[in-house]
């Protein structure tokens, strides 16, 4: 059988990879891709805690499905923002969007 630690370490690794992507990538779409990796890492943790705890308590799976809908909403609004910015500024590179930078 697989111990819980394997899932937790895998999720921590996937979260860190996503964090690196958010901090380092220049393209705004790539940053959103990395956010998806982080949300998936959290979901692995939620489902693993459901399975390794009391399986009759469904909170882990319910929270995972709510993370699904939040991720769908985040992607829809995020990509709409990226497309809107691209129309106005003709760029999606995050460091060129410095209008609010003092």
């Amino acid at each position: 059988m697989i111990p819980l630690s394997w899932y937790l370490i895998l999720a921590a690794g996937l979260f860190s990879i996503g964090l690196f992507g958010v901090l380092a990538r220049r393209n705004a779409v790539a940053i959103l891709l990395s956010v998806e990796l982080m949300l998936n890492a959290v979901n692995i943790n939620l489902v693993a805690f459901w399975r390794y705890g009391d399986v009759s308590l469904m909170a882990g799976q319910v929270f995972a499905s709510i993370v699904f809908s939040v991720a769908a909403a985040e992607v829809a609004v995020g990509l709409a923002l990226v497309i809107s910015v691209y129309r106005r500024r003709n760029t999606v590179v995050a460091e060129e969007l410095d209008l609010l930078k003092w």
Partner: protein, 169 residues
Amino acid sequence: MTAEQIIFLIVGAVTLISGLMVVTVRNLIHAALWLVATLFGVAILYTLLNASFLAVVQVVVYIGAIAILFIFAVMLTRRQSAETGASVNTNWWMGALMAVLTFAGLAYLLQSWSGFSKQASAIPSGFDAINQLGDALTSPAGFVLPFEVASVLLLAALVGAVYLAFTKK
């Protein structure tokens, strides 16, 4: 080593490697396709965890809708210089340092927790996870309020996305 552990190790390695490709590969279409591979790996992990409904939702919603939406967005925002320039910013090493520190901190915190190497208890016979999930999502004693809030959130996101991407005449 049991068969389950071997499957986990293979799927975990594929998931992590394709996750790394998502954040490092230059071509964004390729990055989105690597994200599909990562999401498939996570769906297989859900199956290993006996969460069959979430595995199906992962394939339908994440791969079928979100990843395809990403590919559309990449195609709509293409620009020549964005693909010839560097794919990471000049402070990328700081991001890598932060990621390694986060992983080390999480690993340290987790291994000091008493339930870290817990084994899964067997699923009781006659236990129907999908039935239980449906009950939990719709019963007032369960999670009907978060479920309804999630649907309102999706509606608001739909309206917001249409408004933001709408071209004014």
